[in-house]
């Protein structure tokens, strides 16, 4: 299983996509598929302070992708799509009410731009991922105490390699500094690597990125586990009741809603035999 948790949605507000943007998104999905990714999360980034969020139909991705006929080909071939929202938060007072996003998006992430906003994000257990803007120089200093609090709660921190690949040298510089800061502060724990590719040419083979990051001092080899953990938590929100009882047996890989064939179930013959045994026993006692 190989997952990319950040394929950006081309629009940053609720206006519908143009045909050019749609073609661009399609191209990135095709290249991701040829590079071997099986699970893709489409990321809708919103600045809370600039854009008003409507009362209903918060999620533009599901609504517009239904018309996108090419997508059905991918899903038929086994590609899985998730929807993700990233909230850019400056003032922590406005980022209090996050519960309305939980129902309509699979993954909820926060991109804090100030230190106070980071403290808010690390303290909130609804948040799945915390990201940073890697293309600009960060205007605050990361501390182990705040980030460690998030690590203890199981929040993942994201590394986007898009600005590393870009042609602008300033972006590369700022990526390296924030990357080094994050690795130092989080002690190599709970880190997730994703693309954030704005065009299809910025996608890379995952193993290449991983070896590059290892050269820079990224030690832990739990990246695969961390990405899967994010997807599992996202799917368990809808497919289980508070992580106690879930429907189906593997929520990330399969899509079960209600009815199921006994032959698809893992060793379903055992259950079938048991039913037959009860029936025989009941007839015998009569």
């Amino acid at each position: 299983m190989l997952a990319d948790l950040n394929i950006p949605w081309p629009q940053n507000d609720y206006t519908p996509l143009t045909t050019a943007q749609l073609a661009q998104l399609k191209n990135t999905i095709i290249t991701a598929e040829t590079l071997g990714y099986t699970h893709l999360a489409i990321n809708f980034t919103v600045n809370i302070h600039e854009i008003k969020i409507p009362g209903n139909d918060i999620n533009p991705i599901i609504k517009q992708l239904d018309n996108f006929e090419k997508l059905k080909e991918f899903t038929a071939r086994g590609l899985k799509f998730f929807s993700r929202i990233t909230l850019i938060i400056e003032n922590p007072n406005q980022g209090q009410n996050l519960s309305k996003f939980l129902g309509s998006f699979n993954i909820l992430s926060i991109a804090p731009t100030t230190e106070k906003a980071l403290i808010l994000a690390c303290g909130n257990s609804d948040v799945d991922i915390i990201t940073f803007d890697y293309s600009k120089r960060m205007n605050f200093y990361l501390k182990h105490k705040t980030v460690g609090g998030g690590v203890k709660k199981g929040i993942k921190f994201e590394i986007c390699y898009n600005s590393l690949v870009s042609s602008n040298s300033l972006e590369k510089q700022s990526f390296l500094t924030t990357f080094n800061n994050l690795v130092r502060v989080s002690r190599n724990q709970n880190l997730v690597i994703s693309s954030g590719a704005t065009s299809c040419l910025n996608l890379r083979n995952f193993n290449n990125v991983l070896t590059f990051c290892k050269n820079l001092g990224f030690r832990e080899n739990k990246v695969f586990k961390n990405t899967e953990s994010v997807l599992l938590g996202a799917t368990l929100k809808s497919k289980s009741y508070k992580q106690t009882v879930m429907i189906g047996e593997n929520p990330v890989h399969e899509d079960v809603t209600g009815k199921r064939n006994i032959k698809e179930i893992d060793s379903g013959d055992v259950f079938k035999e048991q039913l037959k045994r009860i029936k025989l026993n009941k007839q015998a006692t009569k």
Binding site: G154, N226, L232, S240, M246, I247, F271, K272
Partner: protein, 277 residues
């Protein structure tokens, strides 16, 4: 007088006969006397020895001790929890004995397949067939709880999951889907007790098994059709499958009913074999 000053009486009774104890106690609380207790040294006697040498003039202290002992013993024997514990221990003991005997029997006679029902230890084991009725009752109960009628479908999956989280699982036929402990993988059986940390299960080969909840996924199946009157082979499509996440399920059934569960970090729910897929 004994009832009025039980402590003094019991102390005096160790060194004096009964008549003198009463006399001394009367003197003790007389008006112009400084209160005192005339005691004489006694040899130390073990409590077990005291019970053997019971006479008419046994001291009060030993009597109290004997009564306490009796009470404790009866409480231990009558407590259901202790009795159940002993039952499980004895089952495990007989299972081990039977296994040993079969091995020695195979070596001695050079036989590959042995019928375990021949041995006398087998008679003391718990029987799988006795619990078929409880499984039958459980299926009726769960079909009632999830409101499965003749429609052959689940209505409102979220509501079903909420009900299942506070349901009773004694009598359910469960199977271990994945486990951190590789030895448990693929075990199946009928639940006979649902404790805080374990599911106690009767396996098909008449064996009692304790399966730890932590780090284990249990799957079970609910038939969506009327299995008594319809053919089972024709209705392969109509099943609903659910999985219990054992690590988040570590409560007894009565504690679980009013519990507010909290979703946590999912790092511990990932199993190593998933990465190969």
């Amino acid at each position: 007088m004994d009832k009025k000053y039980p402590l003094e009486a019991s102390l005096l009774s160790r060194s004096h006969p009964k008549d003198k104890v009463l006399q001394l106690l009367e003197q003790r609380y007389a008006v112009n006397v400084i209160p005192n207790l005339p005691l004489s040294p006694v040899e130390y006697v073990k409590s077990s020895n005291i019970t053997e040498t019971i006479n008419d003039n046994t001291s009060l202290l030993t009597k109290i001790r004997q009564e306490n002992n009796k009470q404790n013993r009866t409480r231990e024997q009558s407590c259901a929890k202790v009795a159940f514990k002993n039952f499980i221990k004895s089952q495990q003991y007989w299972q081990r004995q039977l296994k040993l005997k079969i091995i020695t029997f195979k070596k001695a006679n050079n036989v590959k397949n042995v019928d375990q029902t021949k041995f006398k230890e087998y008679k003391k084991l718990i029987k799988f067939d006795d619990f078929l009725k409880s499984n039958e009752l459980w299926i009726d109960y769960i079909r009632d709880l999830l409101q499965i009628s003749n429609t052959k479908s689940l209505q409102n999956v979220q509501q079903c999951l909420i009900r299942l989280s506070s349901a009773e699982y004694i009598g359910c036929f469960i199977r271990v889907l994945k486990a951190k402990n590789k030895q448990l993988q693929g075990k199946s059986g009928i639940v006979i007790y649902d404790s805080k940390n374990y599911f106690i299960v009767v396996e098909k080969g008449d064996k009692l098994k304790l399966i730890e909840k932590k780090g284990t996924l249990f799957s079970f199946v609910v038939p969506l059709f009327d299995y008594e009157n319809e053919e089972i082979d024709e209705n392969d499509d109509n099943y609903a499958e659910f999985t219990i996440i054992g690590s988040r399920f570590q409560y007894r059934a009565p504690d679980r009913s009013g519990k507010k569960f909290k979703p946590k970090d999912t790092d511990d729910l990932i199993y190593d074999e998933d990465h190969s897929k």
